[in-house]
């Protein structure tokens, strides 16, 4: 069998189809797009939500920038004030959210891509709603 029979070929670097490498890009970000697409398919079919922990992956700041530029900005940006600011921003792909948690000092403590119709943190918890209703009742009784 000749080498040509193998359907995988080495592409010499000078004719590489890949974009010229920018400094700081590791090539670890592009595969995430496929993973996100798969997670979206699952969300649509089963309603199952998912998240990708960006701090757990070997991504450089340049990789994160690349990913964030590719995913773009959507219509909704949520800011949460809970021991430091958190931002939950919809990307240009509805259902894909870029979630960044900061501590009180403003440092990023963790970063996720969440695939969901609405991110978990945005929803009000029934018990908190109950507390809010009790508060309203109190207001009404004072009228």
């Amino acid at each position: 069998m000749s080498l040509d029979a193998i359907p995988i070929h080495v592409i010499p670097l000078h004719v590489s189809l890949a974009p010229p490498a920018e400094p700081g890009l590791t090539g670890n970000a592009p595969p995430l797009l496929r993973e996100i697409s798969e997670l979206l398919r699952r969300l649509l079919e089963t309603g199952e939500t998912a998240a990708i922990d960006l701090s757990a992956l070997p991504l450089t700041l340049a990789d994160l920038d690349w990913l964030s530029v590719k995913l773009g900005e959507g219509e909704i940006a949520v800011t949460l004030q809970a021991s430091g600011e958190s931002t939950l921003n919809e990307t240009a792909c509805p259902g894909v959210w870029w979630v960044t948690h900061h501590n009180e000092q403003g440092a990023v403590t963790s970063q996720f891509i969440e695939v969901a119709f609405v991110p978990e943190l945005v929803k009000a918890h029934p018990q908190d709603v109950e507390i809010g209703r009790e508060y309203l009742e109190l207001l009404i009784s004072d009228l």
């Binding site: 998912a50 998240a51 990708i52 922990d53 701090s55 757990a56 949460l80 809970a82 021991s83 958190s86 948690h101 501590n103 009180e104 000092q105 440092a107 403590t109 963790s110 996720f112 969440e114 978990e120 943190l121 918890h125 018990q127 908190d128 507390i131």
Partner: protein
């Protein structure tokens, strides 16, 4: 998400969202899948606060300081809501017989179920007389308390490996917890002091999964001690480019180059400082311009001098045999360079080099 703990947090003004956010970050730090953050929040919120007994032995209280002063208002402070801390001499209001009573009733009421935290080493010299509480030696107390413990957490390098009391010539005959207790699960959280979030992480894991996290060969949680300081150091690219600070005040030091030649023990030290940082994420030793001392490794005090460069460059491929010769040569080269620098510094009288610090 409901239960006694979250109710008490909400009463203290910690919202459910704050708690969820905290658990998500904690899960991320422990390299657990994102979904675990949610599971952790559910489990911890509903947990029935396990009884924790904290015994201080031959120690400096630095470990306690690290934990108690860490919380930027509430976060690591949650640890004290997650557990029922039934005995901790430094923090408890009771003293004397009352304190001893609290210890014994906690041990009796929660026999087989409590978590035992130890900080400090255990001196064996002169029948343990070097460190006693209520007239009983640390050895005796440890053996008694360990009997009914579900698991033991050795807080800090002294409890984990003997630490500074064990440093040569070890006058008190100090040993670690694992040198004495052989029949209980022991988690080592070394560091001088240890990183607070590691403690919270171990507790959260215990509450969520009912077991201790995965440990490395030195009994340390892999999630935090799986990589070296060097692996995750933001100065690592300079090491790879061969750019080293040669003194603490040269151009390299000002440019933030690698501190390897100034004695940084990062390449052989497993800890999470480079990622979790200290003082609420403000900075950490290497970021402030000083090499890592290697405080989370056994016998770091006797590891050959804080300002002496490691004799062998870190070898990620572990080609030990071939590298040994090269490494020895590199070590000689560094020490020759150090000697040259010392005389240069002496004549110039302007720079302070590692060689000056290392008499």
């Amino acid at each position: 998400m409901q239960g006694p703990l979250i109710d008490s947090l909400v009463r203290q003004g910690v919202s459910r969202r704050t708690f969820l956010k905290y658990c998500a970050t904690l899960a991320s730090m422990m390299a657990l899948p994102p979904i675990a953050g949610r599971a952790m929040a559910e489990a911890i919120a509903a947990s029935r606060r396990p009884s924790v007994i904290w015994l201080p032995f031959q120690e400096c209280t630095g470990c306690t300081e690290s934990i108690t002063r860490s919380h930027s208002p509430t976060i690591e402070g949650m640890i004290f809501d997650m557990i029922s801390l039934d005995y901790q001499e430094t923090l408890m209001a009771a003293a004397g017989f009352q304190a001893e009573e609290a210890l014994h009733s906690a041990m009796k009421d929660n026999y087989g179920k409590y978590l035992l935290i130890i900080d400090g080493s255990i001196p064996l010299g002169v029948d343990g007389a070097y460190s006693c509480i209520a007239g009983r030696s640390n050895l005796e107390l440890l053996k008694e308390a360990a009997k009914g413990a579900a698991a033991i957490v050795a807080m800090g390098s002294c409890a984990s490996f003997g630490g500074i009391p064990k440093a040569n010539p070890n006058p008190t005959g100090a040993v670690s917890v694992s040198d004495i207790i052989k029949d209980k699960p022991i988690v080592n959280i070394p560091g001088c002091p240890p990183i607070p979030v590691v403690m919270t992480g171990v507790l959260a894991h215990y509450l969520t999964f009912g077991s201790l996290p995965e440990l490395d060969d030195k009994g340390r949680p892999k999630a935090f001690f799986g990589e070296t300081i060097h692996d995750r150091c933001y100065r690592r690219p300079f090491y790879d480019q061969g750019k080293f600070a040669k003194t603490f005040d040269d151009e390299g030091a000002r440019n933030g180059w690698c501190l390897f030649e100034l004695g940084c023990k990062g390449p052989v030290t497993h800890n999470a400082c480079a990622t979790t940082k200290w003082n609420g994420g403000t900075s950490w030793p290497v970021e402030s311009g000083h090499g890592c001392l290697g405080c989370s490794e056994p016998d770091f005090w006797d590891a050959g001098g804080f300002y002496k460069a490691l004799s062998m460059p870190a070898d990620p491929l572990k080609i030990a045999a071939a590298a040994a010769v090269v490494g020895a040569a590199a070590g000689v080269a560094v020490s020759v360079a150090n000697r040259a620098k010392r005389s240069a510094a002496k004549s110039a009288h302007e720079t302070t080099s590692l060689a000056d610090l290392e008499k």
